[in-house]
Each structure stands twice: as structure tokens, then as C-alpha cells.
């Protein structure tokens, strides 16, 4: 199965995209991932639109987390075998000439549990900027801007030097988002970012995601269908390593094409 000239597989193999091709910022084609003999993802071809929120849902173990981890080359760190293509702005990020470190600076990631570093709030957000040896002023400005975008600025502006671990779980997760935003990534991947948070903290993160799509492309993995319906413009359903459906969110939930999707969203399994 060979890709077309713009990196898209031939018609019929890609599910969607339900949006114009020029909106594509990130795209997988025939992405297959193995862990030893076991196939975790089987030929997933999926395109993500820029400045939109796309959700990936599916039952536990369906490969959602592996899929997002392939998008910034984190999957290979766990020793997984990856074949197929992932293109970011048209460029194959698995090209041997591409440095995975550079990929991860452009495609940021937020994890299931807050993973703040045991340093101050300021230093956490500054981490990525310091790697780029930015000047003091640039770092200062970046920290403030990122905290504002993550909706955390008003809560922490007085105590930037306090240890980040003293923040609440929800604040820590928003700090992690601010930290990922500080390096100005093109895409922000979120792997079940609210799974360890209470409903109020979840609400705040979801509000922030809604604001973020004005500037960023967000891809969010969630096991929570209501969350996908609330925050996502597009929703993909993954089942046993296969992409079942990728559709505009309202369409996805109101009139899914695949019987499997319908059974899943009506709670017949999962």
C-alpha cells in the first residue's frame, strides 16, 4: 500500500479526513506498531486538522496511548517496533535524518498524571526554554505567557518561586500543560490529561483546551466519551488496534457510520 503524492494513502484506505486536505497538520499512514509478536496498532491511517481539538477514544488496551506516543516518537523509547509513516507538516518524522529530539520540541505532550519536576513553579515552566539557552528576558516572558495560556497565572503569580509540588493536582496538571506550551509546539498531545483529576479540576482543564485551539492543534486521548463530546471538534474511535471511525464530533456521536462505534457509544461494550 503506497502513499499518494501528498503523503495520503490512496482513497478508501484512510478513514476520513472529514475536512479539507489543506487543513492537515499531522497525519499517520498505515501506522503499525508491534511489541514483540503482538500487534498493538494495525495499519492506522488518520489525519489531524490544524487548530482543532481531535479526540481519540476507545476501550482500555485499544492502542490509544500507543498511537499518540507514536506522534512524537515517544513510543520507540519503550522498545516498540514502528512501521508506516507519520507526517508533520508533510515531513516524515520517522525519516532517519530526522532527530527525534527536534520532533518532540515541536510536538509537545502531557501525561495522565501530573509530572511536575521537584523544582519551583517558575523552573518547571522554564525547563524547555532553558534547553534552548534562551536569554533571561525571553524565559521570563515565555513563563508568564505559558502560565496565562494554561489559565494558571492568576493563581500562582505571587509564588513563582514556591515548589511546584505544593500545588494541587489540578494546578500541577495545568502547570505541566504550561510547561509543554512554553516551547511553542505546533501540536499538543494529551494522554488522558484529566484521568487523575476531580470534576472541578477537569472542568478547568477542559475550558483551557477550548481556549488553546485558537492557537494550537490539540490531540487528546480520553476514555471518557462525554469529555470527547465536550471538547473535541473531531473524534476517532480505535478498537483493538484498528481505526474504526473518524468523524466530526457531533456526527460521530449522533449518527455513527459503523455499527461497532454505535455499540460502543451506546455502552453495549467498553
Amino acid at each position: 500500500m503506497s502513499g499518494g503524492p501528498d503523503g495520503l494513502p490512496p482513497d478508501g484506505t484512510v478513514v476520513g479526513p472529514p475536512f479539507p486536505r489543506e487543513e492537515i497538520i499531522l497525519l499517520t499512514s498505515d501506522l503499525t506498531v508491534r511489541s514483540g509478536p503482538r500487534e498493538i496498532l494495525s495499519g492506522v491511517s488518520l489525519a489531524f486538522p490544524r487548530q482543532k481539538v481531535s479526540a481519540i477514544i476507545g476501550p482500555s488496551g485499544c492502542g490509544k496511548t500507543t498511537l499518540v506516543r507514536c506522534l512524537n516518537r515517544m513510543a520507540e523509547l519503550a522498545g516498540l517496533t514502528i512501521s508506516g509513516e507519520v507526517r508533520y507538516r508533510g515531513r516524515d518524522i520517522y525519516d532517519p535524518q530526522v532527530n527525534p529530539v527536534q520532533v518532540r520540541r515541536r510536538i509537545g505532550m502531557v501525561f495522565q498524571r501530573p509530572t511536575v519536576f521537584p523544582s519551583s513553579i517558575y523552573e518547571n515552566v522554564a525547563f524547555g526554554l532553558r534547553l534552548e539557552r534562551e536569554s533571561r528576558e525571553v524565559v521570563d516572558r515565555g513563563v508568564v505567557r505559558s502560565l496565562k495560556r494554561a489559565g494558571l497565572w492568576e493563581e500562582v503569580r505571587e509564588d513563582l518561586d514556591r515548589p511546584a509540588l505544593a500545588l494541587s493536582g489540578g494546578q500541577q496538571q495545568r502547570l505541566c500543560i504550561a510547561r509543554a506550551l512554553a516551547v511553542e509546539p505546533g501540536v499538543l498531545l494529551m494522554d488522558e490529561p484529566t484521568s487523575s483529576l476531580d470534576p472541578i479540576a477537569t472542568q478547568k482543564v477542559e475550558d483551557m483546551i477550548y481556549e488553546l485551539k485558537k492557537e494550537y492543534t490539540v490531540i487528546i486521548v480520553t476514555h471518557n466519551m462525554q469529555q470527547a463530546a465536550r471538547v473535541a471538534d473531531y473524534t476517532a474511535f480505535l478498537y483493538q488496534g484498528h481505526l474504526v471511525e473518524f468523524e466530526e464530533t457531533r456526527q460521530f456521536f449522533e449518527s455513527p457510520r459503523a455499527k461497532l462505534t454505535e455499540n460502543y457509544i451506546t455502552g453495549r461494550f467498553g
Partner: protein
């Protein structure tokens, strides 16, 4: 039974809820003294005290056998002379032994810390996991080699090599540095401070490596992944995420490593040259508090004063090792707690 106040504490029998109008009195069922649990408890709880009893009795017995003999300030002076011909003018000054202990343990500790930091980083961060697992067990095995084996290896194999190759080379190239200028009259023929430091370093490395290695391993994987996901290289993650975490365990590694080094006896005794004087260079023969004890204990019962002096040296050694080990374990504990707290 929602009321918190009446909930039984852990391990207590829950009060029986009466079926009549009046609730049954919250009496506890008396424990059966012959239940398996009670017997096990009666057998094991005194055993738990044994380590404490041992330690206390060692301290007490040593103190009693020293007869609390007061050697005055001369005890910390330079002259150690039991004087067999006229014990009434014998002097017991342990200064040179203290210096020997401090020099060997101190230098060995510095070298061991540098070496084990490098080993721990390569084991945890850079080596693939099968190699890392094998090499981890090998470093741990080093700790199990009997002390006397290190000693004989040092004396039979290393000392001739030191005297023919290493010592002349070091004094030739580094002779301008203090401690590396060998004077021919002071030369201990391969044995001496340098060889003792070398052997001690190898003996301390397994312990300090294990402590640093485990503190690196205790870092939550998400921390490392977050660093990488922010576009840090493996090296940057090591420097900015992993080492700051591991830094907390360095004080405990230093203290526990020092405790191990300062108490090591037989191997050092076999390679240090056993001279009682102020060392003029790394090639001089020397003695430590521990080698003093093993070298002179056989004549201790001939002179009561010598026995008392040796026992007091033993007490001093015991005090040093107790203090550094207690402090080291405390630091180790607090370092671990910090990991747990941050992982939540």
C-alpha cells in the same frame, strides 16, 4: 454504625451489635493465650530485641573492660609506646592511627564516590537492560568477596606492581604535587597508603554504587519521559532531571561509605605497611585505628594498660561508625520519602 467515634481501631475486634433494645457493652473478647497468634507473638517479640541487646551489651562490656582508664590528653598524642621493659613509663598516643584512618578512608571515599556515580549512571541510564542487570549483580557480588581475599590480592599481586611500575611512574610525573614525592628512605616497597586507598576504594564502591544506583532507579519513569517529551536529549534529562533527584542520596552514600571504609580491617592491615609515624607521602607505610587493634590484640592481655587503650580505641571506632551509619540511614530514609512524595 456510621459514627466515627465508635468504629473499632485497626486490629481490634468490632463490638458485637446486640439484637435486643440495649446495645451490648463494647467489651472485647479476651485474647486466647494459647491461640497460634499469641504463641507466635510470645516467641518472636523478644527476638526482635536481640539486635538492640547485642549492641547495648557490646558497648557496656567494652566500657567496663576499658576500666575507664584515663590516658589524659596524651591519648590523642603522637607517641604509641607500650614499653615492654618498663610498662610504668608506657605512652599510648593514637594520633598517627587517627591520621592513617582519616587519610585512607577519606581518599578512598572520594575516589569511590566519583567511580560509583559514573557506574550508577551508566547502569541506570545508558546501558541496555540485560547488560545493566548482569553488571548490577556483578557490582553487588564485589561486596561479598571476603576482605582477606582483597588483602592477599593486594599484597601478592598489586604491591609488586605498585613498587615496580606505578609508584615510580607517579612520583616521576606527579612528584611536584604534595604527597607524590617519594623519599627513598621512607619507601614502603609497594605497600602503604596508596595501595590501602586503592583496595579500600574497590571495597567501598559496591555499597556507594548500590545506594546511588537505587536512588536513580527510584525516579518515576514519568519524570524522565516528561523531560524527553519537552525535547531534552538523554544527556539533558540526566543532568536536569535525574541528577537533581539523585543528589539527595549523596550524603547518605558518603556517610555509609565512610563507615564501611573506616571500619575495614584485615585487607588494610595486609597492604598498608603498618608503620607508626606521620606519613610523608602516599607511598609511606601507615596504620589505622582498625589495623592497630588487629596488630596488637594478641599482646593485649600481657599489659593491662595496653588492653585498656586498645578497648578505648575500639570504642572510639564504634562510636564513629555508629554515628555515620545512623546519620547515613536517616538521610537515606528522607531521600526516599522525598521520592515518594513527589511521585504522588
Amino acid at each position: 454504625m456510621e459514627d466515627q467515634g465508635t468504629r473499632p481501631a485497626l486490629g481490634e475486634e468490632p463490638p458485637v451489635v446486640g439484637s435486643g433494645n440495649a446495645p451490648a457493652p463494647p467489651g472485647r473478647v479476651p485474647p486466647n493465650p494459647f491461640s497460634r497468634r499469641s504463641i507466635l507473638r510470645a516467641l518472636t517479640s523478644p527476638v526482635g530485641w536481640i539486635p538492640g541487646i547485642f549492641l547495648a551489651s557490646i558497648v557496656v562490656v567494652l566500657m567496663l573492660s576499658s576500666h575507664f582508664q584515663n590516658f589524659g590528653l596524651g591519648f590523642f598524642g603522637p607517641v604509641w609506646n607500650p614499653n615492654p621493659t618498663d610498662p610504668s613509663v608506657a605512652t599510648y598516643g593514637i594520633l598517627y592511627f587517627v591520621i592513617g584512618s582519616a587519610l585512607t578512608a577519606g581518599f578512598a571515599l572520594v575516589l569511590a564516590m566519583l567511580l560509583s556515580l559514573a557506574i550508577a549512571i551508566s547502569l541506570v541510564v545508558f546501558l541496555p537492560s540485560p547488560a545493566s542487570r548482569i553488571l548490577t549483580s556483578l557490582t553487588d557480588l564485589l561486596a561479598g568477596i571476603p576482605s582477606v581475599v582483597y588483602g592477599i590480592w593486594g599484597y601478592v599481586i598489586l604491591a609488586p606492581y605498585f613498587s615496580k611500575q606505578l609508584d615510580p611512574a607517579l612520583s616521576h610525573y606527579l612528584g611536584w604535587l604534595p604527597g607524590f614525592a617519594a623519599s627513598p628512605t621512607e619507601y614502603a616497597g609497594g605497600t602503604g597508603l596508596l595501595l590501602a586507598i586503592f583496595i579500600l576504594t574497590i571495597m567501598v564502591v559496591p555499597l556507594t554504587t548500590a545506594l546511588l544506583r537505587e536512588s536513580l532507579r527510584a525516579i518515576p519513569r514519568e519524570q524522565v519521559e516528561s523531560g524527553l517529551a519537552l525535547g531534552a536529549t538523554r544527556w539533558e534529562v540526566l543532568r536536569r532531571v535525574q541528577l537533581p533527584w539523585a543528589r539527595r542520596s549523596i550524603p547518605s552514600a558518603v556517610l555509609l561509605g565512610f563507615g564501611r571504609a573506616v571500619g575495614e580491617t584485615v585487607a588494610v592491615f595486609m597492604v598498608i605497611g603498618n608503620e607508626v609515624k606521620l606519613p610523608t607521602s602516599l607511598f609511606s607505610g601507615s596504620s589505622t585505628m582498625a589495623t592497630l587493634l588487629v596488630g596488637q590484640f594478641d599482646s593485649a592481655f600481657e599489659y593491662p594498660d595496653l588492653l585498656h587503650a586498645l578497648v578505648e580505641v575500639a570504642l572510639l571506632l564504634l562510636a564513629i561508625s555508629l554515628v555515620v551509619n545512623l546519620l547515613g540511614l536517616r538521610y537515606f530514609g528522607s531521600g526516599r520519602m522525598a521520592h515518594v512524595g513527589a511521585g504522588a
